[in-house]
Symmetry: C2
Subunit: 270 residues, 2 copies
DNA sequence: TCAGCTCGAAATGAATGCAAACCTGTGGGA
DNA sequence: TCCCACAGGTTTGCATTCATTTCGAGCTGA
């Protein structure tokens, strides 16, 4: 298939796919930072085929459309995306370097299986990154940006009072994202987004429904976070954020132990 | 060239190269963590050609054998490594995702030019990662590992007294690496190594010869670091390490302002 | 002299080809 | 029945080829 032929064709490939692959591939992750994993801001606005495939494949895997440990079917994905193996394989190398898949020599790519131990490690790194973001945010954040976080905080509190889990989650994630944004550090944002993706792929569950105590605790921690940020107490905020992530990790681990159902979709985030 | 032909041939390609490329490509970076950028520990012991090329090319760029902003000559590197363009281009995509190079659509790869602002950002991320490593190290470090760091610290102090810059640097780097190792967090180690490479590529200079004050200050900070680590005071150590990196960044910036000679090799690290 | 244009060489992006490695199912022997 | 060899198709890794774009030398005309 030549480039001209591909461009004149429709977006979707024609062939049917096995059930596992037939899930829709969304165009963008809604709830995360808009930052691309690496700096491609100025000149790389033209999406070369490679970038397009890379983004779509990353989403496909992060969203859990392939089971952990499952083979990544090169051929099928080529047909799915309507491309040849070359750009797809380039994307696979990049995803492997991001830790989303493993490349076994001569035996293809497999979706990385994330063990309990590694989830703990990833949580700790997220904690460190958020701690850093909080520290930097205290140095740089504008009054307006702080006010927006404060608004989100109160909105989140409202959801908490009404026991609206979904709204609570959305505000919670928005707050953490705003803090990272307020740090105004490109490499930090990119690294944060990358680790968030890896962790999200693990489908760890910190479902607050099953853990009402944790919900209240998390809400109190967020009070502390807002307070430290208001006082621009970087070092203190750094500590609180790390502890916050630690507790989140613990809640996730408890939940996992209580309901060890692998492959079951679960709600994220405290 | 077929695979059999390449394997029966010698390691070095035959052709002459322009002066800029004729520098030797070392096999490994001596002073950094042994960790590979991503988890390939168990099964990927067989180095597929791609991995080999990726590692060598990364070293080639990190070591500064290509000027910032310079074109990455695909053709020449292919001849140099004795491979075709496919695996080389795969490696370039990965390096781009690591932030070492920029890929301009239809105009090839260029060595990323790191501006002053980005160096500051990278330093801050390094500070956050070291802060995290220190915090985790306080939780996990063994007496033996602590004793080794203490030994390195005293050895470093000896170098400081004798004004032996080279020995001081080596111990300094070893201490920071040991702290990261003591954190026992694979993703953290990998991320740390990656950022260390990016920063090293910038060839920032924090030459202590030109800044004797900073040398003494750094030594005092290291006293604090050791003290906090001995007391397993994670939060405190975290703060000290971040400040330590901040001061290191400041010294580097001062030095850069005092002697703005781009392309001049300079001594790293405090 | 110099700005603008044309055309050809070279480089890039992607597709295709090909040898080697792997997986699978089949059959022979213990 | 169970274990192992092995032949076939399938997949992978890399080389090669092809289409497209960019870059630059040389020409034209003012």
């Amino acid at each position: 298939m030549t480039r001209a032929e591909r461009e004149s064709e429709g977006a979707d490939g024609p062939g049917p796919l096995p059930a596992q692959l037939s899930a829709e591939i969304p165009a963008r992750i809604p709830g995360t930072l808009p930052a691309e994993p690496q700096a491609k801001s100025r000149e790389n606005l033209v999406h070369s085929l490679h970038d397009e495939v890379l983004a779509r494949l990353r989403e496909f895997i992060v969203e859990g459309n392939l089971a952990p440990g499952a083979r990544v079917p090169e051929r099928l994905l080529c047909e799915r995306f309507g491309i040849s193996r070359t750009p797809l394989r380039e994307a696979l190398k990049v995803l492997a370097s991001e830790g989303l898949i493993d490349l076994l020599p001569n035996r293809g790519a497999r979706v990385r299986r994330i063990g309990e131990g590694e989830i703990i490690e990833l949580f700790d790194v997220m904690g460190g990154l958020e701690a850093l973001a909080g520290r930097l945010a205290c140095e740089r954040i504008t009054e307006a940006a702080y006010a927006e976080i404060e608004r989100l905080h109160h909105e989140m509190y409202g959801h908490y009072l009404r026991r609206d889990l979904h709204g609570y989650f959305a505000c919670n994630q928005a707050i953490h994202d705003r803090i990272v944004q307020a740090a105004e550090n490109g490499p930090l944002s990119a690294t944060y987004a990358s680790f968030a993706g890896r962790l999200r792929r693990a489908r760890y569950s910190a479902n607050l429904d099953a853990n009402r105590d944790r919900w209240g605790e998390a809400m109190r921690e967020h009070e502390e976070i807002l307070d430290a940020l208001r006082r621009r107490a970087g070092s203190e905020l750094s500590d609180i954020l790390f502890r916050h992530l630690r507790n989140k990790r613990r809640a996730a681990a408890d939940r996992e132990a209580a309901a060890p159902v692998p492959g079951e979709p679960a709600v994220d985030s405290v």
